[in-house]
């Protein structure tokens, strides 16, 4: 990778130059809204607020940024500056052909775990713009905990996309291009790039070990009865689907007559089974959705944030998806060239999972 160290406040200039030099036509990046952080799509660099770094590292999760550029298939290039899980989701969308590889520039920034945007707004003063694992533990003792999805996340360091922004000691950042497209974009901003090789293996392993420990402590769902109880409060609003970055069907099965029966269809079903639960297909919806996202789920936890009934969906979707990803030895969002498990095969494989 080729990169350079910058002062945090210089990031702002970098984003402006990316726009100015036409490395990107527009840029999705977080900005401060009152106490909180939200995404904006910037056309004119002058609108990038100072200090930009305070927003891009702010530990707040609202919407998954991949959702914003889902369906971006126009030639004009958009850049997105987001957390690694969001960039991973974007890479999955590229593989799913929901986004044009050449017209989206992916810029991932280090993350230490994030709070829901409500929690962040309520405690913005205490949390601040820049947290590390020590600060997170300190806040946890005060009763302000990061999202469950973040607590069990093993991939918080920026290592995916075209450009990465790493946090370095002394309030500095390392900006580096890790693909040709990324290096080209950075070069166009007239930064003097040099070969960088930053070793963060030890840090990565520590994060993964801590995350695994957290994961083991989560309650597991191990029977249909437990799943039913878990989903008891579900009202079938399907927000978990709408906010999921990797759920992408133009028309969902559960919006069609078979998936969402009305009138006579509903009556027929009730007659068939003597009585049916309504809204219908609650269990089928969630089980089908698990299957649909089982290889592509990046574990961002957007589903849980979106649930109006506060069902802790992180204990369902990412936890089950992980088991499926294990059998295919597939890590979603790692490499845009790696094929999705369901569109490839080996001639001899998986027999032990079939019966």
């Amino acid at each position: 990778m080729k990169g350079t160290e910058l002062k945090q406040e210089d990031l702002e200039g970098l984003f402006k130059r990316l726009l100015e030099k036409k490395a990107v036509d527009c840029l999705v990046l977080p900005h401060k809204v009152g106490n909180n952080v939200a995404y904006m799509l910037v056309k004119d660099g002058d609108k990038i607020e100072s200090p930009a770094a305070s927003a891009i590292f702010a530990p707040s999760f609202g919407v998954n940024a991949a959702n914003i550029v889902k369906g971006w298939t126009i030639p004009e290039r958009v850049g997105i500056v987001a957390k690694p899980c969001e960039i991973r989701a974007a890479i999955e969308l590229m593989k799913l052909k929901q986004m044009d590889k050449d017209s989206v520039l992916l810029i991932s920034a280090d993350c230490s775990g994030a709070f829901t945007n409500q929690d962040y707004a309520d405690h913005a003063g205490e949390i601040g713009d820049w947290v590390d694992s020590g600060k997170i533990n300190e806040l946890k003792d005060k009763g302000i905990a990061i999202r469950e999805a973040c607590a069990i996340c093993e991939n918080r360091l920026a290592d995916v996309g075209d450009i990465i922004i790493e946090r370095v000691d002394g309030g500095k950042v390392l900006v580096a291009g890790i693909t040709d497209m990324g290096v080209e974009a950075l070069s166009s901003t007239e930064l003097s790039l040099e070969d960088k090789d930053v070793e963060r293996q030890a840090e990565k392993e520590k994060i993964a070990a801590d995350a695994k420990k957290e994961k083991e402590e989560l309650p597991k769902l191990s029977s249909v009865e437990e799943l039913e109880e878990f989903l008891r409060d579900c009202i079938g609003c399907k927000n978990c689907r709408d906010m999921c970055p990797v759920c992408y069907c133009k028309e969902c099965f559960f919006e069609q007559p078979l998936g969402k029966p009305v009138g006579g269809d509903l009556l027929n079903l009730a007659e068939l089974r003597s009585a049916i639960g309504v809204p219908t297909n609650q269990l089928l919806y969630h089980l089908t959705r698990i299957y649909h996202v089982c290889t592509t789920c990046v574990g961002c936890g957007a589903c849980e944030d979106a649930c109006p009934k506060n069902i802790p969906l992180t204990r369902l979707y990412p936890m089950i998806a992980e088991k499926v990803q294990e059998i295919f030895e597939y890590e979603p969002g790692k490499d845009v060239e790696e094929p999705l498990p369901f569109i490839t095969y080996e001639e001899e494989e998986l027999e032990e999972h079939l019966r």
Binding site: Y291, K323, Y345, E347, E349, L350, H353
Partner: protein, 142 residues
Amino acid sequence: MEEAKEGFEPKIIGFTCNWCTYAGADLAGTSRKKYPPNVRIIRLMCSGRLDPMFVLKVLLNGADGVFIGGCHPGECHYIKGNFYARRRIAALRTILKQFGLDNRVRSEWISASEGDKFARVMKEMAEDIKKLGPNPMRDKIL
């Protein structure tokens, strides 16, 4: 409950591909192999046509077992349909396993000449599912 189990005849839904397993079932019939009549076969053109949602749906609707049959890998009439099917079924069973439902789902590769194998698998499956008892989903309000 034990009593109910004894007189219990499981209902198994079988998804079979047109070219191999369905023909295998046909052969079992024409060569007068005996096997329990618990399976209701739904013929698909290829095991690759099986949307895993079919399996979820029949399980939730109370089927006691699901059988999926296809050509042996490498012998698919459509060259690679069953290779894709195998990946989907493996993923689906991994999910079902988390909820203890995987023992009601079985898939086998049965060619058109394997009438014997079809009869044997049906017999084994009927016995296995009898031991498991009825699908609790059958009487639930879902």
